[in-house]
Amino acid sequence: MDFVRWFHLLASPPHFYRFARRISPWLATLSLVLIVAGTYGGLVLAPPDYVQGDGFRIIYVHVPSAYIGMLAYTVMAGAAAIGFVWRIKLAHAVAVSVAPVGASFTFLALVTGAIWGKPMWGTYWQWGDARLVFELLLLFLFLGYLVLRASFDDRDKADRVSAILAAVGAINVPIIHYSVEWWSTLHQGPTIARLDSPSITPDMLVPLLIMIVGFTVYFAWLVIVRLQGEVLERERSARWVQQLAAGGAE
């Protein structure tokens, strides 16, 4: 089928809903397989790090979470922008669904970062670590988006106003990232070490890549599940939803 036509079809809520339901179990299975494989690879197969011993293994959760947090914000801002410019309701639904998931992954990155930091720095938090500080600011951006959305009674206004905030945030994210990195390098002492594995060998890297892909698929699954609920809620007075609720079969 023509890709453009398929894309347009997908933007229609009932078609999207059916597509989401079909694809959902596949995403769940795939993510489960990848994450289990990656975890096994990371916890068992990868050798202990020369400097950090087994403590570095938290990167198998920390790095994918941080990456997903960034990906989520990009997807959220992009979807919101598409919804704003072309007035596609489903795009707004995507943004709404992504936001809490992105915030959660960012929070997870912060927590795992703190867990990683404890054996390295002796404390759970280190302001000098650029990545953690950036993740914190990213979390604030997510929370700001969610709070702004929640402040509006009119869903349309909520969608469109928060789309502007998301777009401005997206432009700002690279700037914030750069400035925080720049700031942390200024105050680097010998005692502050970056959250990094000094050297990464292939048997450490491969599970990490698997985990990143697995997390991405997991993220996609979570978003699709939330999206289904969001679409149903937004379209609840439409005929196809009533039929679905009454009939049950699809």
Binding site: L148, R160, V180
Partner: protein, 221 residues
Amino acid sequence: MDAFVLVLRRDLKIAFRRWAELATPLLFFVIVASLLPLAMSPEESQLRGAGTGFLWVAALLSSLLALDGLFSNDAQDGTLEQLALSPAPLSVIVLAKTLAHWLVSGVPLIVLAPPLALSFYLPAEALPTLVGALLLATPTLSVLAALGAALTVSLRGGGAIIGLLVLPLTAPVLIFGARATDLAVHGEPTLGPLYLLAALAVLAISLGPLACAAALRVGLE
């Protein structure tokens, strides 16, 4: 450009008649900056170390406060919808309003900062950089605060969340501005962070009003 000057003069006129609204952010700046030392020891080296940070955080918060009613006053009396319907681009009107408010709140803040800096034992040699950095930073802060005001214009009591929305976005300004001041305090060259501040200001002034105008139109729907 006629509309720009028209709106600028109008907003300046109104601002001077609402002198309480004028004075509040400035008093806020002075009060916050004055309270911070009470939270730590008055020892010279301590204050000098923390003074830069105090000044910049206080300036940040005060800028946010100053632009609180930027659009909500006009929204309440119906001027905003007239401005949105006028032939002049709304972003130009927004820029004029933001400039008016910066002139009225940002510039006095820049004037008040040096005495406060001296009270924190910052060396007099650092003052020109402080003033320069604030001159470059406050426009960006004003634009960001205006954006916060525009996003919340249709919310009752929307002002409360402006800080939440805008403060994370001001982190780069805070970082570069405080860094420039710190370098000046230690007698080192400050051109790097100042250039970065200037770049941010250019970006903010060119894109900010467009985002504000979009947000205002949604608020008026």
